[in-house]
Amino acid sequence: MKNSSIFNFEAVPLSQLVRHVTRWHLAVFAVCVATVAVASEVKSRWLDFYEPAQEMHYQSLAMQAKDPRLFFLGSSHFMVGVDPRMFPFEVVNLNHQGLDYRLMNLILQKNLARWPDVDAVIIELDPYPLFADTVATFGTNVTLGRLGLDADEYTKSIKSWCSHKLSCLTVFQSPSFSPRSMLERMTPTSVVPGFVSSDLVMQQTGEQRAKFHMNLLKNFNTFGENHAALNEMIHAVQQKGIPCYLVVTPHAEGYWDALSQDVRERYRDVKQDLIAGGKVQVWDLDQDPALQIQTHDFRDGDHLNKSGAQKLTASIIRRVEDSGVCPEVRTARRTP
């Protein structure tokens, strides 16, 4: 310890410092602490997690669908990939970033009763909701907020969750006072219920997204429950005599390879079981050449941008048309 640099630090002990130097150190420290405190507070109060706030706005509007013909249910892949405006009739697209199948199941159970006359239910099939533990990361408030409460209540539930769980981490969040964010916030945009589009291109590669997901999916504790919830959803829909379809959305190159082998294999087994079982049709649009998805159609490694969403939605419309579920599609197809 004698030779430790902490003891041959040139600065003399605090007690022996000249008064003005001590004052200077204290001033710097005080200014830094005050700045961090004020800026963090300003950020959390004024920005209140811009993206989730925006998302809940879209979702609360989606919840107000009166008489949807198709019921889409998924995570962020549906949120950015399925554009309800492209359908010639009312569809509802309920989704939220990071949802797992257990939460999707709760949402389905609640809302299927509200819309008993839907022609089909289309559920996202993806490894993320199969392995995620959204209850642990999002909490039950969000879950409750999603289950048919009105927009204001939903907003409150998200806000309380954010301030409770993450206010200390505002510095790490992306919402910002940068000119782009401010302009975006000031620009009136037409809100599409259940759908958020973006012009961004490949903000993160497939590999980066997969690594990010693998960091979140640290253990597979919830795999069994999510798997069971997925089967339960299919069963619940079919029991009501409603056709159920599963859709795999496109992923950019490198995504699948960067997932762990275990995740890949378990997901593959689930998918194959569903296909082999013949109970439900799986529309695998991940590697569908007819979709003509290219790199510039991705917002990031597993989310589509505006052009990608148009291609995916058009492809889903074609499949809905081919399946004969909604004959109106054939005669009244339109684009936004």
């Binding site: 310890m1 004698k2 030779n3 430790s4 640099s5 902490i6 041959n8 630090f9 040139e10 600065a11 200077w24 001033a27 710097v28 200014v31 830094c32 005050a34 700045t35 961090v36 004020v38 800026a39 963090s40 300003v42 950020k43 505002t170 510095v171 790490f172 969040q173 992306s174 910002s176 006072f177 940068s178 000119p179 782009r180 302009l183 975006e184 012009d199 961004l200 291109v201 490949m202 903000q203 510039h296």
Partner: protein, 468 residues
Amino acid sequence: MYFNSVKFVFFFVAVYSGYLLLSFRLQNLLLLAASYFFYASWNWKFLSLIIISTCVDYAAGLGIERMTSQIAKRRILMVSLIANLGLLAVFKYYDFFIDSLLGLTGSMGIELSVPALRVILPVGISFYTFQTLSYTIDIYRGELKATKNFLDFALFVAYFPQLVAGPIERASVLLPQLATPRTIKQRHVEVGSWLILSGYFFKCVLSDNLAPFAKQVFETPDKSHGAEVLVGIYAAAFQIYGDFAGYSRIARGISMLMGIDLMQNFNRPYFAENPSDFWRRWHISLSTWLRDYLYIPLGGNRGSRWATYRNLLLTMLLGGLWHGAAWHFVAWGAFHGIALAVHRFLFIDHGRHPKPHNRQMQIWKIVLFFHFTCIGWLIFFVPKLGNLPILWNQLVYSWEWNGLDGFLTIVVFGLPVLLVEWWAERSNATYAVLAWRPSLRLGMYAITLAALILCGSLESEEFIYFQF
């Protein structure tokens, strides 16, 4: 583990705490372990490359020093050069040359079958390879004594603050600092803290906020129009400066907190008045490396005028290629090589010396040369050279008054940086802010910190230079 990640913050706090409590030798051991851990966090398999490079150059250094005959010294140097450049060639350039060869022969109707490696590029390989090369070359030239301490040398190669993106340090500067006990002075803490804070501002606020505008233009050139393209090019200029200068500042700052000085890598480059001035200010550790180990050995300016122009061009071509295995980097190098040669031809060899100092003229020169640099960035950032005409078309023939958000972002974040640098340029101070009176300094600290919290975000964008 990027500097702009939460993980790194925790990593550095842990390492620094240990560093302050340990004695000098244990400090070096801790730094070496931390450096290897830091590198392994990307890909532990490539750690072997650093260890190979370390062992080869450690042995080569001792061998060159012990040998008496010049031929034997040269042989050992050649072994070191082949080993280091061989690794670089295999991991960075092999696929590029094979693809180029196949493309060329394919266009001539000749079908060749040469297997490609398709390996990912080890992070920072260009940086640590150049650093170790300078060590053996300096010993060969008799300008440096070989170190006998393997731990010190291994730390010199792998020192984590500058391992993956420089500055490319010289052994004569860094090794003595690693080989002797450090005293952390108050000045170290003061300057180091400011460098870290301003470095994060450069990266997380300036560069990351501008990145989307540059990305949009360069990745989808046919979808951007008019002013948007122009703004995208300016955004790219500030993005790469913020990114790389930010990294260098953070690297120097954290190193300075440990009592170790790293060289200044940027000196207000956008205040350069000509190409030669620019390369004295931009990526100084690389430009001086290229000067000392490539340009001068090629003959420098000792031969005929045309030989000098050739040397400048060759040096910058290789400098361009150093940045990445792609033709647009080579073209960027050629662009600057030609600019240096033309500048030399006009203003040095033909004696057209600039007029005596004139502030107005100086500003015009700076503005003009900044735009010249932007043309260079255009070449640097396009993923393929074929996109250049598309961007030109979109800029000239598809003009629209758009890109307001990008323009505002440049004004809001870029202009204050330029103003502070202008102040520093005028006062000729390295750390102008630290020379301000206390109240102004406190204000500057508060503004920078607040901007970082309100407008920046960690883990949003990777550092551009990590891929080189």
